[in-house]
């Protein structure tokens, strides 16, 4: 395997691993902030101890999340050197802002939250708990601005003198941070974290009920967890819907792959599983119009006319124009100082074809098709498991509210199974988003094979296995500590 594959594997592994810890951070932060607020408002020590228990769980999870986040930041440079230069003008800014605005907030107030119970006032402590979660959420926004731009690169233009995408004006930054893809990704990711946090709290609390201990603690935690999780579920569905519309608009190939749609058209069907289809549903979901045209994989390869009447050229034509742009770029770079007239001619050719420059790096038209099977099934698992989570949260919340939950052993056991499932659900979401946009690091502008560093495959392979070993070690330790923390329990004396 070559360096491109190993670099992709390494980044995918790091990102997937990081996403094991982030959603629980986002979700638990909200759960424990609500609990501590109840403590401060109701002046009930029970809520304090409840919040403190979930904070212990939060702290173990938080550390590994931080540790893996920094790896991602470094890997942009170490493994995606060309990418870092090509997009650095736009991409570095959200990372820097994330550090300044979000990470310091998280880091500062986490320390107050965790160690400050006896050192700072009640209100300052409560503020710190909220600010830890708000910091984590703000950080998600900025990194998803960066990710959203890779999916839908707005607000920048290619500058042949510096050979990179540059911010087109100071106002263009607004386009970047209000990128609709980034906004819906933010809501989708953060609220899916609420679902994860909700499922985790509900399921662990259910385990206490199965064991017949910590009953009061467990029931109150289930109610808070179920509410957070259900609010999250609703928001995930809404933002998922707009994610679908955006994919249709900006990344039609991703949508075609997720649907396994070979040949599209108006009244495109939505596939539940292979062979079971709802006629016209995909057109409604993707364009909010029954007669909306949804291109299939073959349409995109051959070229088509979109719903606004724009003629989208075939991939072969885009590749041809992309090569013209690359050739013109090379000529321009060579002549710009010695022969300005010829350079201007080359520049004009470049400007004419620059929007397809990324396609010039592809070898054959089929390169634009992502691995359909992976994306198709990940999409189905994500939706199916997401609905299952909402159902479980609803039942757990309902029976707890009616105080019948202790008799529902089957539900408590099912809830425990939902812990691994909710993680698989979140991972599937990212697989759809990231595998679905292959081969592009930046949609239409820079394919993965041009985004890399000049390293040997052996070097990246070595670090891949190094990281794999470390990640496995940390995961085992983390799970052992979490299990021990849960077994020990909140130790609240109950009457």
């Amino acid at each position: 395997m070559d360096v491109v594959i190993w670099s992709r594997l390494q980044f995918a592994m790091t990102a997937a691993y990081h996403w094991l810890f982030v959603p629980l951070t986002l979700g638990l932060a909200l759960v424990m902030a609500i609990m501590e607020t109840l403590y401060v408002v109701k002046k009930d020590d029970f809520w304090k101890k409840t919040a403190q228990f979930w904070m212990k769980v939060f702290a173990v999870n938080f550390a590994v999340g931080i540790a893996t986040g920094i790896i991602l930041e470094f890997e942009f440079g170490t493994n995606w050197s060309n990418y870092s230069w090509f997009v650095g003008d736009m991409f570095g800014a959200p990372l820097a802002i994330e550090g300044i605005l979000a990470f310091f907030m998280e880091a500062t107030f986490f320390a107050v939250m965790f160690f400050g119970w006896d050192k700072v006032s009640k209100r300052f402590h409560l503020a710190s708990t909220w600010l830890t979660g708000i910091g984590a959420t703000i950080s998600a926004y900025w990194i998803l601005v960066a990710n959203g731009w890779m999916q839908n690169p707005v607000g920048t233009t290619f500058n042949p003198d510096t050979v990179r995408s540059e911010m087109a004006s100071a106002a263009a930054f607004w386009e970047v941070i209000s990128n609709p893809v980034a906004v819906s990704k933010f809501f989708h990711s953060v609220t899916s974290g609420w679902v994860t946090g909700g499922v985790f709290v509900v399921a662990v609390s259910g385990w206490y009920l199965l064991k017949g201990r910590e009953k009061e603690f467990a029931k109150r935690s289930i109610l808070v967890g179920a509410i957070v999780g259900l609010v999250g579920s609703g928001a995930v569905m809404l933002s998922g819907d707009s994610s679908g519309v955006h994919a249709a608009e900006f990344q039609p190939m991703k949508l075609a792959a997720a649907e396994g749609l070979e040949d599209g058209g108006p009244r495109a069907p939505f596939s539940i599983v292979p062979g079971v289809k709802i006629p016209g549903m995909l057109s409604i979901l993707a364009t909010h119009d029954l007669d909306g045209f949804v291109p299939g994989i073959n349409d995109i390869l051959r070229g088509y006319t979109d719903n606004d009447g724009n003629v989208i050229p075939s991939v072969a034509e885009k590749m041809e124009r992309g090569r013209k742009a690359l050739d013109a770029l090379a000529v321009y770079r060579e002549l710009r100082e010695t022969n300005q007239d010829s350079a201007a001619v080359a520049k004009a050719v470049l400007d004419e074809h620059v929007q397809y420059m990324g396609y010039g790096h592809l070898e054959k038209p089929e390169d634009v098709v992502p691995p359909v099977g992976i994306v198709f099934w990940a999409f189905r698992f994500m939706i199916g498991l997401g609905m299952l989570m909402a159902l479980m949260l609803l039942l757990m919340g309902w029976f707890t509210w009616k105080d019948k939950i202790e008799n529902k052993k089957w539900l408590l056991v099912a809830a425990l199974w939902c812990i691994p499932l909710v993680y698989i659900c979140g991972q599937c979401g990212w697989i759809v988003a990231e595998v679905g946009r292959q081969p592009w690091t930046i949609q239409g502008l820079l394919p993965v094979n041009v985004a890399i560093s000049s390293l040997s495959a052996g070097a990246v392979k070595t670090t891949f296995f190094l990281f794999l070993a470390i990640f496995a070690l940390f995961l085992v330790i983390e799970i052992r500590i979490l299990l021990a923390t849960i077994r020990k329990g909140p130790q609240i004396s109950e009457n």
């Binding site: 440079g77 060309n82 990372l95 300044i100 930054f173």
Partner: protein
């Protein structure tokens, strides 16, 4: 605001973040003292818990330093990170282990035992300042790379920045002057760590050991620093001419120091402050030594960055191809990006203010044996 002004402003900010990062690496320095054989396990845990309330600030400063460098001078990020691969990966690994070590340290389910994570923290305590110092050291010795922006149009080898040495960064360890700066940083952070422990821990045996440590490390630190400085001022530097051509200029950094009196002043004031802080820690019962030494460190590190980047100097020179060298003019982000980022940077004082407030609130009560033996949250 002109483009030049913005580039200078961001070099100052990156330098400031670099200075703050070094000062905050007192966390790493303090963790190095976990190896002190005269301290028992409880006392080691007091040290651990003292830095345990602060390590995330250091870590976040590192992340922000990286992010700000990426955002303002992306060609450095793509050239150095992708090229000096093993140095950055190694640095990364030590920080990754450090980040989990606090939380895992005292838990009996941690597989590697207390000793395992103590070793991880100490490894980070040495390697983090050593590698950062050595990497910054190459700002003056140069590295083996070329930059060719036209490469992206070449399907056969599209990568713009390529590294010459197959060691991918580890070759810097054979560059004595760069390594020397690594050692200077190890000694400096060890001092800062000891001074920080003196400031926050209320325990006689710990304080006695830390006074002793400050006294022991002070002299080697001064010798290392002076040697590095003298060699720096005598060596050839990488000057940038008006048309952007990079040339070798004898005694370039001495010239920089003399032509930028402000930087000379920063170096002198910084050294005096560090010396005073060390004196307080070594010879008096005062707890305030840390603040002087930390402030002085920020000034000296900023001055080092200024010497590397200002006064028409190439801050990341290439020994393979002089004209590939990075300067703050040819490696920066566009005018608009720097403008937007500059607006964002106005929030930094606000961030510093709430950090200072929270820091003050948390440090009002010193760490004692009772707290470590007590029931509250601790590492």
């Amino acid at each position: 605001m002109t483009y030049t002004f913005l580039q200078n402003y961001w070099w100052i900010l990156v330098s400031l973040l670099g200075g703050l990062l070094v000062a905050l690496m007192f966390v790493q320095g303090a963790n190095l003292h976990l190896g002190n054989r005269r301290l028992d396990d409880t006392r080691k845990r007091m040290i651990l818990n003292s830095t345990g309330r602060k390590w995330e600030l250091t870590f976040t400063t590192l992340v922000t330093f990286g992010g700000a460098f990426f955002a303002s001078f992306p060609l450095f990020y793509s050239t150095s990170f992708g090229g000096a691969y093993w140095v950055w990966v190694l640095l990364l690994l030590t920080f990754v282990f450090q980040a989990v070590s606090y939380e895992f340290y005292a838990k009996k389910e941690n597989l590697l035992g207390v000793k395992g994570f103590r070793v991880a923290l100490m490894a980070n305590g040495f390697l983090a300042p050593f590698l950062v110092g050595t990497a910054v050291g190459t700002f003056f010795t140069g590295s083996d790379f070329t930059v060719d922006k036209a490469a992206i149009a070449d399907p056969a080898s599209p990568v713009i920045s390529t590294w010459g040495s197959g060691w991918h960064g580890l070759e810097a360890l054979a560059e004595p002057h760069a390594v020397l700066l690594g050692l200077v940083l190890v000694a400096l952070t060890a001092l800062l760590g000891a001074l920080y422990i003196l400031k926050t821990v209320d325990d006689e045996p710990v304080r006695k050991q830390m006074h002793r440590t400050v006294r022991m490390v002070a002299l080697p630190f001064v010798l290392l620093l002076l040697t590095w400085l003298v060699v720096l001022l005598l060596r050839n530097g990488f000057a940038v001419e008006a048309d952007g051509t990079v040339v070798i200029e004898p005694h370039k950094y001495l010239h920089n120091l003399l032509q930028m009196p402000v930087v000379l002043g920063m170096v002198l004031l910084g050294i005096i402050l560090v010396a005073y802080g060390v004196f307080l820690g070594a010879c008096t019962p005062s707890r305030k030594g840390f603040w002087f030494a930390a402030g002085g460190s920020v000034l000296v590190v900023m001055a080092v960055f200024f010497l590397a980047g200002f006064n028409n100097t190439a801050y990341y020179p290439s020994t393979a191809d002089l004209q590939s060298s990075l300067t703050i003019r040819n490696s920066s982000s566009s005018y608009f990006t720097l403008t937007v980022m500059s607006w964002v940077s106005l929030l930094i004082p606000f961030v510093v203010a709430y950090i200072a407030y929270a820091w003050h609130q948390m440090d009002k009560k010193k760490i004692t044996e009772e707290e470590i033996q007590g029931a509250g949250n601790k590492y």
